[in-house]
């Protein structure tokens, strides 16, 4: 009998059997199975293929070419060696990265004064030591070869002093008329210094305006809470305390603010060690599949415009069941018959059973009314102060669309003569209906300060290059108010760069101050830190000011305000249909609102749900695809009134019918060599009235099909026990179900095998139960191991280089609402490695610590090892991918890791450079490497702490404890490769009420 099919016989394992059945259905074949697009012989045009590399190499400006002779490089030794700098030993500095209304604490690795890698600061509340992909990829933004290097006035290169002189000419007049006709358009911030400077600005120029706008913000959330409570409050969620979480269109694990802390908290509430433990339960209602939906125990696809009505129905039912929700009376229209009654019943019962230990969250795409309602629901459930706490919005500036609308109309009317755009790119990302660029053009003096010369810079008189946050001083507050200093790790790479605080200081006072002095001014006084250099140095060292979090505010819901909000901005009941489609605008996982467009790591980072790189698509449901006769890559034209967007479609199981989800941030026209003209610009159809969901669109095929670079063609496990998953109940019945799903035959060896029982023996576990699939590990690995970017064409050809990838599979019977599971796969470090046996030149061998190591010098590139790797984790350098890397980008490389040349194989090494460094330190201190002291890059950054790494020869190590858990299993254990990496099975915690309903339906 088949060992592998044994999985099918396990009780309650509907997953695998159903997948087999699933594979039989014609729909499945038509849509989901899309595995192999028609094979086309691609006449390999070297020009196209190397486009990316060529443009990457264009920047000879850095080579210092002053004559035609070979450039001479001078190496100057330290005349006076700086204290504490040991060449080859990296130093770590704490700083913080601003973002939205919060910040993220960083610990940045610096090699001889050159920052190379971002890690999270454990002391910072929004990081806790972890980072997401965006923060880690900032290192590439610092070394972006397309950064603005010169200050320019109307395209002519100028100096900072020219600008200062020019401003001083304008200053007296502006001061005299109190800033009449002047406006600042800034991004959101959460910074004591910027807040102080903004106040100063408003005092100096009372007639001037300071408008805050970002295309993707928490405006709705903050406004909703303010309107419900009467206070401007910042919510912070404590998922670790919640037994039951209901997400209403909130991708809190990835795309919402504070996603890193959310993921950590959620994972901590979900983590189990044995079948006796309990775990949280997540319900998700969402319009498109997100990684949060993938984690959910129950997921309900619903059009974005319907989710508000769902929240209202929820409030009504909760109110009926005894949780007194003040506004429920105003919502009686939302009789819940439109929604799955059983689902709603189960959720509300679950929430009510966990008063004070539950949490309802809504996504930033939902209206302020929904957020007000959600705040009321949380309050009624006793969650306020428990699973959600509120902080004052101190030192923060929040995006406000309406002020931008007003400003634009004033600019249009000619009422504004000077506009200063502080960072951001409103010409690109302002709502289309405002026609911002035309209004902007009517302003006499347009000043733009940004790190790259983008679309807005192109229309400005003055462009002032802005420093990266790793180059300048500044400060931030986290969502909860915790204060941090932004300290520079490197002098500005280009002398012309100035920080935003230096610019605002000049604007306010007409005089110059250094960023350091400005920040020190803000931090003086008892309110900040106690006097004395020592205290300041401690803040710099720690990265945060101890105990600086603000005190929480007890928010109470005002019945009248809530009712007022509901009537002012009523909840829609409209439904999208085939004639009137709904478009959902979401930030891109990679490019966010477009600011990361020129970042190659992020462009090549697959979207966690679709696995698409280098493109945005309109996600559609299978039903819509079938009705409209669309297949993946078909370009449609999305039309409403005069706005049109041509974009390829992509079929996503689990997408709400008639909702098309489009990622923002693509289609940049002035992004740089990497990001220009990548994807379609969704801002073209996004309006100020409905920036999140907009109905009334029609979609027409334009008869074109384009190739989309998707890194995973096949999306089901085809009955293979790769990702092992069970319900909590099933796990309790059969705690050993996971390893039993595949039989491991006894290993009969003809000789005495190497025992690997001495010294360090490295091993890893990945807990699939908490892995969210957020991609942070992929970027960490890319940064740590100098993994090259290969470009869209190479990715389409299956040549992406990521050493760790996130396999994503759909599960379950329901094609319209399948499950989704993630599995991070890097080298499994087999003790009986099949790759080693077949290499003819012994370039990949085993070391005595159990690592499967690569000798790049020895590799001749037969690719036999990759063929023989059952996990397909080896990556080959098909071309010299790094040959044309610009000098400045080379500064981002980790000097501890070889940059691989053409023709060699590479793969995950368990970060052998970190292992060796830890061993060297331990040896110099005459001790063993301590458990937990050494972390691989992926492990270090994982917000969910899903990855454990350590010495499996030490019975006390955490990794051994993980491997002893009964969920521990080896992928493809029947091959008997004795992998050093093992997985811990995923456990779902479905509501028994819904579970039985589900199984009876499908029986």
């Amino acid at each position: 009998m088949s060992l592998l099919n044994k999985a099918n016989n396990l009780k309650g394992k509907a997953y695998w059997r159903s997948l087999d059945e699933l594979a039989e259905t014609p729909e499945f074949k038509d849509f989901l199975h899309r595995e192999f697009p028609e094979g086309i012989t691609e006449f390999n045009n070297p020009i196209t293929r190397r486009n990316f590399l060529t443009i990457m190499g264009a920047s000879m400006a850095f080579a210092g070419l002053t004559s035609c002779r070979k450039p001479v490089q001078k190496i100057v030794p330290y005349v006076k060696a700086p204290e504490d700098v040991v060449p080859g030993v990296p130093k770590f500095y704490a700083t913080s990265m601003p973002g939205g209304t919060g910040s993220i604490g960083l610990l940045v690795e610096s090699h001889e004064g050159r920052p190379t890698k971002m890690e999270g600061n454990e002391l910072h509340p929004q990081s806790g030591g972890a980072l997401g992909s965006h923060q880690q990829a900032e290192i590439l933004n610092l070394y972006d070869p397309d950064r603005a290097k010169w200050l320019s006035q109307d395209g002519v290169q100028k100096n900072w002093s020219d600008f200062v002189a020019w401003w001083r000419e304008q200053y007296p007049e502006l001061l005299a008329n109190q800033g009449q006709g002047m406006a600042v358009l800034s991004q959101q911030f959460s910074s004591p210094t910027l807040a102080r400077l903004k106040k100063e600005f408003e005092n100096t120029f009372p007639q001037a305006k300071w408008v805050v706008y970002e295309a993707v913000s928490d405006e709705n959330i903050l406004k909703g809470i303010e309107n419900a409570t009467g206070q401007a409050l910042q919510p912070v969620f404590h998922y670790e305390k919640a037994n039951v979480v209901l997400s209403l269109d909130s991708d809190f694990l990835l795309k919402e603010s504070d996603s890193i802390r959310n993921a950590r908290g959620f994972a901590n509430g979900r983590r189990i060690e044995s079948e006796k433990d309990t775990m949280n339960r997540l319900y998700a209602v969402e319009s498109t599949f997100t990684i949060t939906g993938a984690m959910a125990d129950h997921r309900l696809p619903l059009q974005g415009g319907q989710i508000g009505a769902f929240a209202a129905a929820l409030a009504v039912v909760l109110n009926r069941k005894g949780a007194s929700i003040s506004a429920a009376g105003n919502l009686q229209d939302f009789a819940s018959d439109d929604f799955d009654q059983k689902w709603l019943d189960a959720v509300t019962d679950d929430l009510l059973a966990n008063r004070g230990k539950s949490l309802v969250v809504a996504g930033r795409h939902q209206s302020a009314t929904v957020h007000a309602l959600v705040a009321a629901i949380n309050s009624a459930l006793g969650n306020t102060g428990e699973t959600v706490t509120y902080y004052p919005l101190t030192d923060k500036a929040v995006s406000d669309r309406q002020t931008l609308v007003d400003l634009t109309s004033q600019m249009e009317a000619g009422a504004i003569s000077t506009v200063i755009v502080l960072d951001g790119n409103p010409v690109f990302d302002a709502p289309a209906d405002l026609n911002f660029s035309s209004a902007f053009g009517k302003v006499a003096t347009r000043i733009h300060c940004s790190s790259t010369a983008n679309e807005t810079s192109a229309l400005s008189n003055w462009h002032l290059p802005k420093t990266h946050f790793l180059e300048s001083w500044g400060d931030t507050r986290a969502l909860d108010g915790t204060m941090s200093v932004i300290q520079p790790l490197i002098a500005p790479l280009f002398a012309a760069c100035k920080s935003d605080i230096e610019l605002v200081t000049l604007i306010n006072s007409g005089s110059e101050l250094s960023d350091y002095e400005i920040v020190r001014q803000s931090w003086q006084g008892p309110a900040r830190i106690a006097a004395g250099e020592k205290n300041w140095r401690k803040v710099l060292h720690d990265g945060v000011l101890e105990n600086s979090a603000l005190s929480t505010v007890s928010a109470s819901i005002s019945r009248s305000r809530l009712a007022q909000q509901i009537s002012a901005q009523p909840i829609s009941k409209a439904k999208a249909n085939a004639e009137s489609l709904e478009v959902a605008f979401v930030p891109s996982t990679s490019l966010f609102d477009g600011r990361y467009a020129n970042n190659g790591w992020l462009q090549e980072l697959p979207d966690p749900v679709t696995k698409i790189t280098w493109d945005n698509v309109a996600l559609i449901s299978m039903k819509l695809a079938k009705e409209a006769g669309l297949k993946n890559g078909d370009v449609i034209s999305l039309e409403k009134n005069d706005s049109v967007l041509a974009i390829p479609v992509w079929i996503l199981p689990g997408q709400a019918d008639y909702t098309l989800t489009v990622a923002l941030g693509y289609g940049r026209k002035n992004a740089g060599r990497v990001g220009t003209d990548v994807g379609a610009n969704a801002y073209a159809i996004r309006t100020s009235g409905a920036p999140d969901y907009q109905g009334g669109f029609t979609a027409n095929k334009i008869g074109k099909n384009v190739e989309i670079a998707c890194v995973q063609d096949h999306s089901t496990v085809d009955g293979r026990p790769l990702v092992r998953e069970g319900t909590l109940d099933h796990y309790r019945e059969e705690p050993g179900f996971a390893p039993e799903m595949e039989e491991t035959p006894p290993l009969v060896s003809m000789w005495k095998d190497h025992q690997y029982d001495e010294g360090y023996q490295w091993g890893m576990t990945i807990d699939l139960n908490v892995c969210t699939g957020c991609n942070a590990c992929m970027t960490a690995c890319q940064s740590e191991n100098n993994i090259p970017i290969v470009g869209k064409e190479q990715v389409s050809n299956g040549r992406e280089m990521h050493w760790i990838r996130l396999d994503r599979y759909f599960t379950g019977e329901d094609l319209d609402n399948p499950g989704m599971v993630y599995q991070p796969v890097a080298c499994q470090q087999c003790e009986m490695a099949p790759c080693e046996q077949v290499c003819p030149v012994a370039a990949t061998v085993h070391d005595d610590e159990g690592l499967n190591v690569m000798t790049y010098n020895r590799c001749i590139g037969t690719r036999y090892c990759s063929n023989n790797c059952p996990y397909k984790v080896r990556r080959f350098n098909w071309f010299n991918f790094t040959k044309d890397t610009p000098e400045i980008v080379k500064m981002a490389m980790n000097p501890d890791v070889t940059v691989r040349s053409r023709g060699v194989m590479e793969k995950c090494t368990f970060c052998v450079q970190r292992i060796n460094q830890a061993k060297a330190i331990a040896k110099s201190e005459d001790r063993q490497v301590r458990d937990g002291e050494l972390k691989t890059a992926c492990q270090q950054t994982c917000p969910a702490d899903a990855i454990t790494f350590g010495n499996i020869n030490d019975p006390e190590s955490k990794v051994v404890k993980m491997k002893q858990q009964n969920r521990n299993y080896t992928m493809l254990s029947s091959l008997n490769l004795r992998t050093r990496n093992t997985f811990l099975a995923k456990i779902r915690n479905p509501n028994p009420v819904l579970e039985s309903a589900d199984s009876s339906e499908h029986a």
Partner: protein, 465 residues
Amino acid sequence: MSTITKETDLKVHEDGELVEGNPTFASVTADISRAPEAGTPKLWFVAFGAALSLMGLGLTLIGYLFWEGTGIWGIQNPAGWGWAIINFVWWVGIGHAGTLISAILFLFRQRWRTAINRFAEAMTIFAVICALVFPGIHVGRVWVAYFMFPLPNQMGMWPNFRSPLLWDVFAVGTYFTVSLLFWYVGLIPDLATFRDRAKTKIKKAALAVFSLGWRGGNRQWQHYERAYLILAGLSTPLVLSVHSVVSFDFAVSLIPGWHTTIFPPYFVAGAIFSGFAMVMTLALIARKIYGLEHIITMRHLENMNKIMLLTGMMVGYAYSCEFFVAWYSGNLYEKAIFINRAIGPYAWAYWTMIFCNVVVPQIFWSRKMRRNIPVMFVASILINVGMWFERFVIVITSLSQDFLPSSWDYFSPTFFDVGIYLGTFGIFFTFFLLFLRFLPMVAIAEIKGVLPQADPHYYEHNGHH
């Protein structure tokens, strides 16, 4: 093999003559020497020009490959091997017929081989040269490909003797050396004949060097025949071993569709199958152009067709056996790969293979078809197409859809895959045309040995040599 031996032995008695038209020793020499000694025909120049151009294209593309890297091919992750390895196996396989004809049939005293053995051996040498191009160029860093050889070095680094690719290096290297020697030893008496007939001094001197002072003396013949027999003995296991070792590249790995014990015999049968098909294609053209119908007779062709029918059924059996084992093993991955071969994205390749290799040879059950030249010409070409697809199916389908569905991908060749493959045809035909032009394409001495007048006893002492 024994059935064939008996059958053909009977045939010898039935048909009597292996050479038609009752030629004399002198006329045999004259017939075979005519082409190399006469002036170069125009057609030869046309053909040679075409072959040289193709070779030039191939070498240029290989130059570009060295310059840019293996990424110019369609291979990717998961299919790390593509056309280069397919072509390598295909060309090595083609070579097998030569060795089989010269060595095994020699040992089995199948004297009908004499008409085609030289031809087939030359083909072997050139096919193996074409095959050897690929392992050399397919590696990522060609400039260090010599790491494959066990060369003493200051680092004390040896190649990995556990790797089938290394076994390949030795197996194919040995095969090429022995085949070359065998061919050359067989050529010596004929080169001496040419030397004696040479009209110019330079030609005579050159041929004198290469014929190693052959005078046709009795002792020379004795030594010669002993040497030839020993080389035949050495070559015989190579026929079996080379393709067995090549099949180890696949069989020793753990990839479903590769990891199977049936591969060695299956590969050897396939090699002989494709080799005979190639000999057939070439012989049909050559005998027509050079007017050697009386030497390469219908009986030779029919015998080759019978071997193709047999080996074709052997590979057909192997194909069905693979399916049976995949089902019988109950191994999920093995089953999936075979189902995918038959109905998956590469089904077109799989059914092309089945049609060409299993269906087409069935036509040779009919004696009429076995003796029909257009039929056998088309069939021989189809068989070689089919055998190329067999290697395509093995290499590509298995790699494209192995254990983890997340890694599955579809392989599409590029212009460079196709171009370099065509280039090896250029290499092959360039060498082959040079051979036809300058060397005896049929073994003169051996043909004389099968003329009736060479054996005054008219088969009374059967098997006496």
